[in-house]
C-alpha cells in the first residue's frame, strides 16, 4: 500500500532515482567487478519492476505524476505517466536488463578498459530515458534529451582511439548542434504561441490546438522541432549514427538501436500527437514535408545499407531506414499509421537489439566484423545466427516476427490516408531489406566454412548467448501477443476510438 501511494506521486521519480542510486553503487564498487556488475543488473531489474508497476497502475486508470520544480511560468520539470511514455519506458527499461547481461559477457570476454565509466554512463543514460519518457512537458523532455547526448558521449568515445574520437566528435556535434539550432528555437516559438498564458505541457490532442499564432509560425515550429530531434536519424541529419558505431557493441545495441534513437522518434511522436495534434497538423499541411523526408530516408538508407560490408554499419543504416517508418507512421496523420509508428518503437527495438547482439557475439567469438567473412558462421554459431535470422525477418516485416504487426498497420494507415505512393515505398523498402539481410543469413547457413578455419561450434560467452536468445524469443513472442504494445500505441494514436 505504501508503495502504491508512493508510486502515484513519485513513481517516475522513483524510476529515475533507482538508476542514480545504482550509479552510486557502481562507482562505489569500482574495485570489485563482480559486485559492480551485480549492482548494475539489480538496478536494471528493479527499474523494470517499477516501470511494470507504473504500467499496471496506469492501466488501472491512475493519474500518476506531479511537478518537481517550475522554472519559468509554463516551463517546469514535471512528470506524468501516459501511454506513449510508459511504452517507451517499458521498452528501454526491459531491454536494459538483457543488455546488462550481454554487456557482462561482452566486456569481460573483450577485456575492455574503463568498465566502471561504461556502466556508470549506462545508468545515467537509462535515467535520462526514464526522465524523458515520463516528462509531462516539452522542456523536461528537452532537458533529458540533452542529458542523454552528454552522458552517452563517454560511451561512444570508449575506446579512445583516433577513430573513436572522430566518431564521438561527429556524434556530439550533430546531436547537440541540431538540438541547439533547431529544437531550442522551436521551444521558444511553441511557448510564445501560448500568448499571455504560455505553456509547454503535453496535451492529448495537441497543446497548440486552438492556438491563435499564425500558421507560418506554427509550421516553422514544427519543422524546427523535427529537425532538432536529430536522434530520430532522418536524412540529412543521420550521419552521426554510423559514426557512433565505433562504440562497443552493447552501446550500439541498447543506445543506438533502442534508447538514443528511440528517444528521437519518441520526441517526434510527442510533437505530433501531444504538442501539435493530428488535426492542427492536417490543417497546417507541414507533416507532408516529414512524409517525404521519411520516405526518402527509408529508401536511400536501405540502398546505402546494401553496399556496406561492415556488419555494424549495415545494421546502422538499417536502423536509419527503420526509424523513418516510425516517423512516416506519425506523419501520415491516420490513426492506423500512428499506431504502426508508435508500436514500431517497441517492435523495432527488440528486433534490432537482437541483430546487434548477434553482430557483437560474432565479433567476440570469431573476431569477424565484415559481412563478406561470414561464410559458414551459422554452423559454428547456430544459436546466434538463428536469432539473427529472426531479427532479419522482423526487419523485412515477415511473420512470425514482431515488426510484421506494425508493418501491417502501416499499410492500413497508408491506404486510409489515400497515400498510394507511400505504399510503393513500403513495398520497395521491404524488398531492399530482404536484399541486404537475407544474403547474410544465406551465407552463414549455406556457404561452407572457408578452408583453413576451424569448423567446430564456437558460441560467444553464455551471457551473450542468453541475452540474444531472450530478445529473439521476444521478437517472436510479440508477433503472437502484440497487445501490450499495440494497446498502448492505439491509445496514443486514437485508433479504434481509444484516445486517452
Amino acid at each position: 500500500m505504501i508503495l502504491a501511494i508512493d508510486l502515484i506521486t513519485h513513481g517516475p521519480l522513483l524510476s529515475i532515482g533507482i538508476c542514480l542510486v545504482g550509479l552510486l553503487g557502481i562507482v562505489a564498487a569500482r574495485k570489485a567487478p563482480n559486485v559492480r556488475e551485480g549492482i548494475s543488473l539489480t538496478t536494471a531489474i528493479a527499474n523494470f519492476v517499477i516501470v511494470l508497476l507504473l504500467h499496471a497502475r496506469f492501466r488501472a486508470g491512475a493519474d500518476i505524476g506531479g511537478t518537481l520544480v517550475e522554472i519559468v511560468p509554463g516551463v517546469s520539470l514535471a512528470f506524468r505517466v501516459d501511454a506513449l511514455g510508459i511504452l517507451f519506458a517499458l521498452v528501454a527499461s526491459g531491454l536494459w536488463i538483457v543488455n546488462t547481461l550481454y554487456s557482462i559477457g561482452y566486456m569481460r570476454a573483450h577485456h575492455e578498459p574503463r568498465q566502471t565509466r561504461f556502466y556508470s554512463c549506462f545508468a545515467i543514460a537509462i535515467a535520462a530515458c526514464m526522465g524523458a519518457a515520463f516528462s509531462s512537458n516539452l522542456f523536461s523532455m528537452f532537458a533529458f534529451y540533452e542529458l542523454l547526448t552528454i552522458c552517452t558521449y563517454p560511451l561512444v568515445i570508449h575506446a579512445e582511439t583516433p577513430e573513436a574520437r572522430a566518431g564521438a566528435k561527429r556524434y556530439v556535434t550533430y546531436l547537440l548542434g541540431a538540438s541547439i539550432c533547431f529544437l531550442l528555437p522551436a521551444l521558444f516559438l511553441i511557448w510564445s504561441a501560448g500568448g499571455s498564458n504560455p505553456t509547454l505541457d503535453f496535451v492529448s490532442g495537441g497543446l497548440l490546438a486552438g492556438s491563435e499564432a499564425s500558421h507560418m509560425t506554427l509550421g516553422a515550429a514544427f519543422l524546427l522541432a523535427v529537425a532538432g530531434l536529430a536522434k530520430c536519424g532522418v536524412m540529412p541529419f543521420h550521419s552521426w549514427l554510423p559514426a557512433a558505431m565505433v562504440a562497443p557493441t552493447p552501446v550500439s545495441a541498447l543506445l543506438h538501436a533502442v534508447a538514443v534513437v528511440k528517444m528521437g522518434v519518441f520526441g517526434v511522436c510527442r510533437i505530433v500527437f501531444y504538442v501539435f495534434g493530428v488535426d492542427l497538423l492536417a490543417e497546417l499541411g507541414v507533416a507532408d514535408v516529414l512524409v517525404v523526408a521519411a520516405c526518402f530516408t527509408i529508401v536511400v538508407a536501405s540502398l546505402v545499407a546494401l553496399v556496406q560490408d561492415n556488419l555494424k554499419r549495415r545494421l546502422a543504416y538499417s536502423t536509419i531506414s527503420q526509424l523513418s517508418y516510425i516517423l512516416l507512421g506519425a506523419a501520415l496523420l491516420a490513426p492506423a499509421a500512428g499506431l504502426a509508428g508508435v508500436a514500431h518503437i517497441g517492435f523495432h527495438a527488440v528486433s534490432k537489439i537482437t541483430l546487434f547482439f548477434a553482430a557483437g557475439a560474432i565479433y567476440v567469438a570469431l573476431h569477424k566484423t565484415k559481412v563478406s567473412e561470414l561464410d559458414g558462421v551459422g554452423r559454428r554459431m547456430p544459436i546466434t545466427m538463428t536469432a539473427f535470422a529472426i531479427g532479419s525477418l522482423s526487419m523485412i516485416g515477415l511473420p512470425p516476427a514482431a515488426a510484421a504487426v506494425s508493418k501491417w498497420y502501416l499499410v492500413e494507415g497508408a491506404i486510409d490516408a489515400g497515400r498510394f505512393a507511400v505504399l510503393v515505398v513500403i513495398v520497395i523498402s521491404a524488398l531492399l531489406n530482404a536484399a541486404y539481410f537475407l544474403p547474410i543469413v544465406w551465407r552463414a547457413f549455406f556457404n561452407p566454412v572457408p578452408e583453413g578455419e576451424e569448423s567446430g561450434r564456437h558460441e560467444a560467452p553464455w551471457p551473450c548467448v542468453a541475452a540474444l536468445s531472450i530478445t529473439a524469443l521476444l521478437t517472436v513472442g510479440l508477433f503472437f501477443w502484440p497487445d501490450i504494445i499495440v494497446d498502448l500505441a492505439a491509445q496514443v494514436a486514437g485508433y479504434g476510438g481509444g484516445a486517452d
Partner: protein
C-alpha cells in the same frame, strides 16, 4: 541599524582598506581576517538589503542628513540590491580564494597592499551601484577604475604593466566621456540627483529634443560602453584579464564590466527614463542592439581559437556582456528579466571558470588550455566545477545560463525582433565549441598524456570554486534570481 546599512556597506570595506596597510606593519596576520571580515559584512548587509527591498520597499539614505537634491543620496531598490549582492559575494569569495594564489604570484611585501586595493576596488564597485547621485557615481567609478588598474598591473609578467597601462589610457578616455556627459546634463537640468533629473524629464519630454541632452546621453553611453568592454570597444579587456594576477582576474572579470552595465541600466531607467531609447534617441538603441548582437556572436567566435584559458574566458566575457545590454535594449519584461538575471548567472559561471584558471596558474605557472589535459583524473572537484560552469555558459537546460537565454529569446519574440533568436543560438553553438574543447581535455585526455596538473588545489581555493559552480545549478533549477529580477523590474516601473 538597517537605516545605516547603505552607507555601512560602502564604508566598512573602505576603512578596512585604509587600515590594512597600517595594521600590516604591526601584525601581518591581521590582513586576511580583516579583509574577509569587512567583505563578509558587506555581503551580509547586501543580502539583508536585498531581502528588505522585496515587494517595492526601496531604502533611501541621505548622506550626512543633507536633503536629497542638495546632498548625496543613496538608494537601494530591487535592481541594485541584486548587483550589490553580486559584488559583495564575489569580493568575499575572492578574498577567501586568493591566499595561495597571491602567495604564489605576488612578492610578500606587496600582499597587504594588494588586500587594501582589493577592498577599495570593492568599495568603488559597491559605491557605483548604490549611489543615487550621478556625480557621486563618477567619483566611485574613478575609485573603482584606479584600483582596477593597480590590481591588473600587479601581475608578475611585464605584459601586466602594459595591460594595466592600456586599460588606464582607454579607461580614462571612457571616464572623461562619462564626466562630459554628466557635465552636459548638469548644464541643462541644474541637478545631480538622479530622481530630480528624472522628474524634470518626465515633466518636460521636450528636453529629449535638446542637443545638449542628446550629447549628454551619447557621451554617457559611449563612456560606459568602453568601461563595460562592449564590442567593438573591448580592446583593453582581454589583455587585462589575461595578465592580471589570477585573483584580480577573478574579481574583475566577475564584477567590473557588469557594474558598468548596471550603470547603463541605472542611467536609462533612473536618469533619462526609458523614453530616451524609445522616442528620445532611438538610433542609440539601434546601435546598442547591433553592438550587443555583434558581441554575442563574435565574443565566443574569437574565444574558440584562444590557447590561453584566461584570454579565452575574457573573449567569452565580451560576448556575455552583450546579453546584459541586449536585455536592456529589448525594453520588455521578459528580455529585462533575462538581462538582470544574467548579472548573477554570469558572475557565477565566469567566477567559477576564473577560479579554475587561477588553480591552473597555481599548478602549472600558466593558464594554457592544453594544460587542462587530465584534470578530471587528478582534480575531480575542480573538473566538475568546470563542467557545470561550462554547461551554464552554453545554456544547457537546468543550468542558470539556460534561463538567461530563455528569457532573452522569448523577450525578443515578444518584441518582434526575430533576428535575436538566431544570434543567441549561434552564440550558444559557438560557446559549446570552446566549452567542449575544454571538457574534452579535462575528461577525455589520452591515457598516455601525463597531466601537468599535479593534484587538487587546497580547499581554500576549491570551496569558493564549488560554491560558484553550485550557484550555476541552483539558479538554473530554483528560480530565485527570476523572482528578484521580477521585483526589480516592477520597482523600475516596467509593467509585467
Amino acid at each position: 541599524m538597517l537605516q545605516h546599512l547603505p552607507v555601512l556597506t560602502i564604508m566598512v570595506p573602505m576603512f578596512a582598506g585604509l587600515l590594512v596597510p597600517l595594521l600590516a606593519r604591526v601584525h601581518a596576520g591581521i590582513v586576511r581576517p580583516l579583509t574577509i571580515g569587512a567583505l563578509g559584512f558587506s555581503c551580509f548587509a547586501a543580502i539583508h538589503m536585498l531581502l528588505h527591498v522585496q515587494g517595492g520597499h526601496p531604502i533611501e539614505y541621505a548622506m550626512g542628513g543633507w536633503p536629497i537634491p542638495t546632498g548625496i543620496g543613496y538608494r537601494v531598490d530591487g535592481l541594485n540590491a541584486m548587483v550589490l549582492v553580486m559584488i559583495a559575494v564575489i569580493g568575499l569569495l575572492t578574498a577567501l580564494w586568493m591566499r595561495r594564489s597571491i602567495e604564489d604570484e605576488l612578492p610578500a611585501a606587496a600582499r597587504p597592499g594588494y588586500h587594501a586595493v582589493l577592498l577599495l576596488a570593492c568599495t568603488g564597485f559597491l559605491g557605483i551601484t548604490i549611489t543615487a547621485d550621478i556625480f557621486n557615481l563618477y567619483v566611485f567609478l574613478e575609485i573603482a577604475s584606479i584600483t582596477s588598474y593597480v590590481l591588473i598591473a600587479m601581475g608578475r609578467r611585464r605584459q601586466a604593466l602594459y595591460a594595466g597601462y592600456s586599460y588606464l589610457i582607454v579607461g580614462s578616455i571612457g571616464a572623461t566621456f562619462i564626466l562630459l556627459g554628466i557635465g552636459h546634463l548638469y548644464m541643462r537640468t541644474g541637478s545631480l540627483a538622479m530622481a530630480d533629473i528624472l522628474a524634470q524629464f518626465q515633466a518636460n519630454p521636450d528636453l529629449y529634443g535638446m542637443s545638449d541632452v542628446r550629447m549628454a546621453f551619447a557621451f554617457l553611453v559611449v563612456g560606459l560602453a568602453i568601461k563595460m568592454a562592449l564590442f567593438p570597444l573591448h580592446g583593453w579587456q582581454p589583455g587585462a584579464y589575461t595578465h592580471a594576477p589570477s585573483a584580480s582576474s577573478l574579481f574583475i572579470a566577475a564584477t567590473s564590466t557588469k557594474v558598468s552595465a548596471y550603470a547603463l541600466y541605472r542611467i536609462v531607467f533612473s536618469v533619462f527614463g526609458t523614453e530616451v531609447l524609445v522616442s528620445g534617441l532611438p538610433p542609440v538603441r539601434d546601435a546598442l542592439l547591433a553592438m550587443a548582437c555583434a558581441a554575442i556572436v563574435l565574443g565566443p567566435l574569437i574565444a574558440i581559437s584562444q590557447g590561453d584559458l584566461k584570454r579565452l574566458l575574457a573573449y567569452s566575457s565580451v560576448g556575455q556582456i552583450g546579453y546584459i545590454v541586449l536585455g536592456l535594449m529589448l525594453l520588455d519584461e521578459r528580455g529585462l528579466t533575462g538581462g538582470i538575471i544574467h548579472f548573477w548567472n554570469h558572475a557565477a559561471a565566469k567566477g567559477a571558470l576564473f577560479c579554475v584558471a587561477g588553480a591552473l596558474v597555481l599548478r602549472t605557472g600558466a593558464a594554457r588550455v592544453d594544460d587542462l589535459a587530465g584534470l578530471g583524473r587528478r582534480a575531480p572537484w575542480t573538473a566538475s566545477a568546470v563542467t557545470v560552469a561550462g554547461c551554464s555558459m552554453v545554456g544547457v537546460p537546468l543550468t542558470a545560463g539556460f534561463l538567461s537565454k530563455w528569457y532573452l529569446a522569448t523577450g525578443a519574440l515578444a518584441t518582434d525582433r526575430l533576428y535575436v533568436v538566431p544570434v543567441l543560438l549561434a552564440s550558444s553553438g559557438l560557446t559549446a565549441v570552446y566549452v567542449w574543447r575544454i571538457l574534452q581535455k579535462v575528461w577525455f585526455a589520452p591515457a598516455d598524456v601525463e597531466p601537468r596538473v599535479g593534484a587538487e588545489v587546497p580547499w581554500s581555493m576549491r570551496l569558493p570554486t564549488l560554491v560558484l559552480a553550485a550557484a550555476c545549478l541552483v539558479f538554473g533549477i530554483a528560480p530565485w534570481s527570476v523572482e528578484f529580477a521580477r521585483d526589480a523590474i516592477a520597482a523600475l516601473g516596467i509593467a509585467p
